[in-house]
């Protein structure tokens, strides 16, 4: 394969600068020793990270986001794993329609989903509760959990399951001893991707969050609406650091491009 010429490399460098600039600048400003927004050059300080301790609403929002992400990703997988097995293993009428329905939260703008959930949960009398947030997040992260599980289930050699059956395993034993271990990498990646999606969602959540159930992105957004100061950059820098960690984990154990392009059916391993 031929190499890139100098012009291509200049373009590439500028492109990468464009992509990382806003992320770098946030993290950089977060280390300012000043009381106002500035880009530190000689002095770096952790004062704004320490200051976070004095803003319990950020700490609380962070806890809400963590719990919400972890819980909704788990619940989403409880629904997604059997659904993925159904879509990958069985032929039945309406199968294509079903998979389109399950992936629809990717197509529907999150504003619309947020509005629909707000209307629905308010009518159901659970508006503003953590439970409502969990249900909404389960639906929104479901496609991500489903896609990776589906890719793993489709890519799996089915004769391995037949072998287990022929050796006398019943359906449940086969699932527990053979299928589950085989699709586990897909499930784990699906969980991580679902967690990130839940952890980062603003557009849908902002319709459902109330002061007690504000997630971190919602808290940050509302804060920025009022004023932008170094405090919110230190929050952002922390979020970026957490996401990067999960991201690198995902890349290591599954390959990031594969995680993000996984479509049920063609992402065999």
């Amino acid at each position: 394969m031929s190499r890139n010429g100098p012009a291509a490399l200049v373009f590439h460098t500028l492109f990468v600068v464009f992509m990382v600039a806003p992320i770098v600048v946030v993290c950089w400003v977060a280390f300012t020793p000043e009381g106002f927004l500035s880009i530190p050059t000689t002095n770096f300080s952790l004062r704004w990270f320490k200051a976070l301790a004095n803003y319990p609403e950020f700490v609380h929002a962070f806890a809400v986001s963590l719990w919400l992400g972890a819980l909704s990703s788990c619940v989403a997988l409880l629904f997604a794993v059997p659904a993925a097995l159904a879509l990958s293993r069985y032929q039945f009428r309406g199968r294509d329609a079903l998979s389109a329905l399950f992936l629809s939260p990717l197509m529907i703008p999150h504003v619309v989903l947020g509005i629909a959930f707000l209307r629905f949960f308010t009518s159901a009398g659970i508006g503003g509760t953590f439970l409502a947030l969990v249900i909404a997040h389960v639906v929104v992260v479901f496609p991500f959990a489903l896609r990776l599980t589906l890719a793993a289930a489709t890519g799996m050699d089915r004769s391995v399951e037949m072998a287990a059956i022929s050796l006398g395993a019943d359906g449940w034993t086969m699932f527990r001893r053979v299928t589950l271990p085989a699709i586990l990498p897909g499930i784990v990646s699906g969980w991580m991707l679902a967690f990130i999606q839940s952890f980062d969602d603003l557009t849908m959540t902002i319709f459902l969050a109330t002061p007690g159930t504000e997630t971190l992105p919602v808290r940050m957004f509302l804060y920025i609406q009022d004023n932008i100061d170094p405090l919110v950059t230190s929050v952002s820098a922390s979020v970026i650091a957490i996401t990067m960690t999960v991201l690198i984990l995902l890349d290591r154990c599954y390959g990031l491009d594969r995680v993000l392009t996984a479509k049920g059916g063609d992402a065999g391993r």
């Binding site: 031929s2 190499r3 890139n4 373009f11 590439h12 990468v16 464009f18 992509m19 600039a21 806003p22 992320i23 770098v24 600048v25 946030v26 400003v29 880009i39 409880l78 629904f79 059997p82 659904a83 159904a86 879509l87 293993r89 069985y90 032929q91 039945f92 199968r95 329905l101 529907i108 703008p109 504003v111 619309v112 509005i115 629909a116 959930f117 629905f120 249900i135 909404a136 389960v138 639906v139 479901f142 990130i196 980062d200 603003l202 557009t203 902002i206 992105p217 940050m220 957004f221 609406q225 932008i228 952002s236 979020v239 970026i240 996401t243 990067m244 991201l247 890349d251 990031l256 993000l260």
Partner: protein, 293 residues
């Protein structure tokens, strides 16, 4: 001979049973709420009386007739189209360059370029707000010292700023779509063209581009639909006055509290997007039919 999936009725039943919990969840928590929202857009609302469950066209007539909404929708789509164009113009060559890179560099830069996709959109947009910053923002300083402009440009609270920040947020989708298309390309075909005497520019224009066009277009559809329904970026960069569909719906719901009107805006956005996305998908499929067969 490969193992055949049995198509007997008991198997179909097992399949449906496994999918049933998810189906019930989606019916209960997606289909019904969406139907309720469509219904809500036909309800009446008043400052003091609140929501009245009647069936009227008031909200729809208001959206269609008031030029304020027309301008807002027009802005939404203008911004989305511009952001899509920028991602295509810069994302396609970058994906091509990325694909020609060697071993570990490829993986590293792919991570750097598509990684931001998963980083909080609020944090990323905050970054642009810092870069744009008023008159002495970093971008303006850089442009002025390099002599490209004489006086500072306005980025915050302008459509220009919105388009740049949106293009940045959506760029990973374009690069990913083109990257996937490039992966399917047989590298020998490029070499074949070179051996027949084509220059590298001709190879890109005549050989590579036509083959990855479906990837570019499907990337464009994703970028367009996500840009047109984006909320965080327009809200932070555009501020309170420069409204797009998503921020308007948000205001109607959480500030004005006119839910029926907000629902109508949201439903209109959904319908417009579904029509555009489904329509262009069908066009692309028909145009590139032979490539997928």
């Amino acid at each position: 001979m490969s193992t055949t999936v049995s198509a007997n009725p008991s198997d179909a039943r097992t399949g449906l049973t496994l999918a049933l919990p998810a189906l019930m969840l989606f019916t209960g928590v997606v289909v019904i709420p969406l139907a309720m929202t469509v219904l809500l857009s036909f309800h009446d609302w008043g400052q003091y009386k609140g929501i009245e469950p009647v069936f009227i066209l008031k909200n729809w007539i208001e959206i269609v007739s008031d030029p304020y909404y027309a301008e807002m929708f027009w802005r939404t789509f203008r911004v989305a189209v511009l952001a899509t164009l920028i991602t295509a113009v810069f994302g396609v060559p970058e994906a091509y360059i990325l694909n020609r890179m060697q071993g570990p560099w490829k993986g590293l830069f792919l991570l750097i370029i598509i990684g931001p996709l998963l980083i909080s959109v609020v944090a990323r947009t905050l970054g642009w707000a810092l870069l744009f910053g008023g008159n002495n923002g970093l971008v303006n300083k850089l442009l002025m010292t390099s002599g490209l402009i004489a006086s500072p440009l306005r980025f915050m609270f302008t459509e220009t700023g919105m388009v740049i920040a949106l293009a940045h947020a959506m760029m990973p989708f374009m690069v990913l779509a083109v990257w996937t298309a490039l992966q399917r390309l047989d590298p020998q075909v490029e070499n074949a063209a070179l051996s027949l005497g084509a220059g590298s520019f001709t190879v890109i224009r005549r050989i590579v581009l036509p083959q990855i066009m479906p990837g570019v277009l499907s990337g464009a559809i994703i970028v367009f639909s996500l840009s047109a329904s984006a909320f965080a970026t327009p809200a932070i960069i555009g501020g309170r006055r420069l409204k797009v569909a998503a921020t308007l719906a948000y205001d109607e719901f959480l500030n004005t509290l006119n839910w029926p009107l907000g629902a109508a805006v949201a439903v209109l956005l959904l319908i417009a997007l579904v029509l555009i996305v489904v329509g262009s998908n069908a066009l692309i499929e028909r145009r590139y039919q032979e490539m997928f067969r």
